[in-house]
């Protein structure tokens, strides 16, 4: 687990939230870590967290993560990109699946 730089807006709207971000497969390798504790501003959405992570990890962009169809799960359940985050949420970023 790695602490990574927080979103620069983190102090604008009160105390920041701490989110546990999880990466899988291609994204895990591109980010160089399988999870990270990320401070984000209160009221942030899944999409905003993802944009922040893409900027923080150039490897994700090089791997095509910015344009790929990425699915999201919050606390183990599928979530939409406009989902508003709560402190302590676990957010998983899932590349297109290829099981079977």
């Amino acid at each position: 687990m790695t602490q990574i730089a927080g979103d620069s807006r983190a102090t604008a709207n009160g105390p920041p939230l701490t989110i546990r971000a999880r990466f899988f497969a291609l994204y895990r390798e591109a980010a160089g870590q399988d999870e990270a504790q990320v401070p984000v501003p209160a009221g942030s959405t899944v999409r905003e967290l993802w944009q922040h992570l893409l900027a923080a990890h150039p490897g994700l962009e090089r791997a095509g993560a910015a344009t790929a169809y990425t699915a999201y799960a919050v606390n183990g359940t599928w979530a939409k990109s406009d989902r508003v985050l709560q402190d302590g949420d676990e957010v998983a970023f899932l590349p297109p699946v290829s099981g079977g």
């Binding site: 291609l26 899932l94 099981g99």
Partner: protein, 152 residues
């Protein structure tokens, strides 16, 4: 008046649904889904193949989001079981690095008759490939790549 055996109205037996690093067994899953009322059990076993799109593959590596994957296997199976009036369905998916010929996924469905069992097994696999958070990485003699559209 002769005694008649009432058709079983019991709900389908769902499971097991697992994502596991353990070696998979078709026979074991058949035994787990079969019921006395099932006249047909259809199975699918996915094997690690030694080539893909003209390239020689030496191994496959599977990774999953285990908590969500197990729940998705259960959800797709419940839908398929209801649609085809199954008596049982179970799915296991392997993770980790697999050699050529090893089983990566096994599905078993039990139904009173074969037509429903064949159709349900095929549909379960299609849904698995489209929805379950599992990823495969192909290993070649000289490199590797994750499959899925982002890998291109």
């Amino acid at each position: 008046m002769s005694e008649q055996v009432a058709p079983a109205a019991a709900p389908p037996a769902l499971g097991p649904f697992e994502v596991t690093a353990a070696v998979l067994s078709v026979d074991q899953l058949v035994a787990e889904v079969a019921t006395p009322a099932a006249g047909a059990v259809v199975t699918f076993a996915g094997l690690v193949r030694d080539h893909h799109q003209g390239r020689r593959v030496v191994a496959l590596e599977y990774e999953a989001y285990p908590e969500l994957a197990a729940r998705e296997l259960q959800a797709l199976s419940a839908a398929v079981a209801a649609k085809y009036a199954l008596q049982g369905i179970g799915i296991r998916h392997r993770t980790g690095r697999l050699a050529i010929g090893e089983i990566s996924v096994v599905i078993a469905v039990a139904a009173p008759h074969r037509a429903a069992a064949f159709a349900a097994c095929a549909e379960a696999l299609d849904l698995l490939k489209a929805t379950v958070p599992v990823w495969k990485k192909e290993w070649y003699a000289d490199g590797s790549s994750w499959l899925g559209q982002a890998a291109g």
